[in-house]
Amino acid sequence: MTDSWRRPIRIGLIAFGVFTIIFLIGPSLVIVPMGFSAGSILEFPPRGFSLQWYQKMVTDPAWTSGFINSFEVAVATAICASILGTMAALGLTRGKFPLKSVANAFILSPLVVPAVVIAIGMFSLFVRWKITGSIVGLTLAHTALAVPYVVVSVSTSLRSMDRNLEMAAANLGANPVRTFRHVTLPLIMPGVFAGAVFAFLSSWDEVVVAIFLTTTKFRTLPTVMWEQVRQVIDPTVAAVATVLLATTTIVLTLALVVRRQAPVR
C-alpha cells in the first residue's frame, strides 16, 4: 500500500477544493477591507484605514432607519412564516386530502417563480390595498417568499419523527391538540427553528421585491444599498455589506449550534 499514486491526486483534490472555496467566498470577503477605506470612493484595494464609513453608517438616518426597518420586517417574517409554514408542513405530510400535490406545488412555488414576477404581481395588488411602503406590506410579501423554507425544513423533521410517538401520546390520553403541543412540537422544534432562521435571512437580504414595495419614506437596508451604489458610491455600502455578512454568519452558526444540541433520537 504505497501512496505514490495517491499523493498527486490528493494534492490536486485539495487544490481544487481550496480554489472552489476562494471562488465562492472571495467576492464576499473583498468587500470587508473596502469598508475600512480612508478614501472616499468604493475601490479595491482600499486606501489607508479608517472607521469613518462605519461611523456614517450608524449616524446617517437613511442607514439607521434602513437597519431598523429590515430587522423588524425580518423578525416579523420569521414569526409569520414559521407559524404558517409549520401548519402547512403538518397538513402536507400528515393530512390526506385531494390535490395534495397541487397544494404542495403552490406552497413551494415562490422558490422557483422569478422574484421579479412575484414583485410585480404584489406591487400591483398592494398599491390597490394601499400597503406599499409599510412594514405590513413587506412582511406579507416576504412571508410568502419564506414559507417554503419553513415547509421544507419542518416536513423533513416530521418525516423523520417516529409516528408511534404520536400514537403513544393519544393512547396515553392526549387529544390531538395536546399531542401536538406536548409531543410533536417539541420534537420538530429544531426544524421549525431552522426554518425560522432561513426565513429571517431570506427577508434580511431580499432586494427585488423590496425595491418594488418600498418607498422613499420606508426603505430596508438592501434597498438603501442599491440606491446608494447607484448614486453615491462611497464606502459606507461596503461597511453595511460587512455588517450584513456578519449577521448572516452569526445567525447561521447559532442555528447550527442549536440544531446540534437539540435532543434528537
Binding site: A169, N171, G173, A174, H182, V183, L187, P263
Partner: protein, 377 residues
Amino acid sequence: MTGQTSGRTASGKSGGKPALVLRGLEKMFGDVAAVAGVDLEVPEGEFLTLLGPSGSGKTTTLRMIAGFTVQSAGTIEIDGVDVTKVPPHKRDVGMVFQNYALFPHMTAAENIAFPLQMRKLGKTETRQKTADALKLVKLEAYGPRYPRQMSGGQQQRIALARAVVFQPRLLLMDEPLGALDKKLREALQLEIMHISRQLGATVIYVTHDQEEALVMSDRIAIFHDGKIEQLGSGEDLYERPSSLFVADFIGESNILHGTLDGGAVRSDLGTWRIGDAPAARAALAAKSAAAVVVRPERLRIIAATGDVPAGVNSVPAKVTDVLYLGSTRKYELKLANGQGASVRHQLGGGEQEWRQGDDVRLAWDVESGVLVAGRGV
C-alpha cells in the same frame, strides 16, 4: 402455572362481563382483508396472546382495539362499553410498542407522568404514582434519566410502567420484546407476567414467537389470513390442534396425509385408526382429505418386523439421522413416500438405540394422533 392460570381465568369469568369483546371485526386495505371477521371474548384478568405469522392480522387487530386503525366493520366493546367509535385518547387502554415509543424529550419520570397529567391528576398524586410505577418495574433510580441514556430493556420497562400507571382497562402489547436479545427477552417475559398478574390486568399480547406465547399466555389466539384459526390454552393448541395450519405453526409435528374412512385415515402408507375426536370427525365429510398429526415426543420407534401392540398405529420408515441433543435424542426418519418425520426420545429411559440406515416402524398410541382436515379442504 397451570393451576394459577385456570384460577385467574375462572375468577375473571365469575366477575361478570368480559373485559373485551370483538364482534365481526374486519379491516380492509383496498381490496385486501387484513382482518376478515374476528370474534373474541376476553374475560377480565386474562393474559391473551394473538399469535401468528406476519401479515396474519394480529397487529391490525390490536391497533383497532387501541383505536389507531378504524375498522371496516364490526364492533369493539371494552368493559361492556361499545368503543367502536371512540377516539384513541378516550379509550383508556395502555399500550406498549415494539420500539418502546418513549418520548425522547422527556425523562423516564416525565414519560410515566404523562398519562397522569393528561388526566389532570394533582401534583402530589402524580409524583406518588410515578414513583410507584418506577418501583414496580424496579427502576426507582432511573426517573431523571432520558430514554437515550437507558438500555433497550430498561426503556421497555419504563414503557410498561407508563402504560400501566393510569390503571387502564386493558393493556395492549405489540411485540414488546421483539427488539431485545434472547436472554433479556426471557427475563422480561417473566417480569411482564408477574407485573400483569400483580395488577390483575387484562392483557392482549401480540407476538410471532410461539415459545413466548406458550410461556406467557392463559390463552392463545392463532391468527391466519385475518382470522382466528384456533383459540385455546397452549396445551389445547399443542395437544389438540384443530387444523393443519395450527399443527404446523405450533411446535414440531409429524403430519400423515390420507383419506378419512370411517374411524381411520387411509393412505398408500397404511391405515391409521383415530382416537375419540367426534368434533373433528363430524366436521369432516366421509372420504374427504384428512391428516393425522403426531407430535415427535409421542412417536416411538419399533422394529420393522414383529407384532404391533393393540391400540397402536404404525408406519414403516428408515432412520436417516440420529441427533444427540443433551436431554433428548432426536431421530430423523424418512417414510416410504419420501416424507420426513422426526421422533424425540427422553434419554435415560433405557430404550433401544437405533442407527442410521435402520429399517424401522414409527408407532403411536391411537389416542395421541389428532385428526385434522387435510390439504385442499
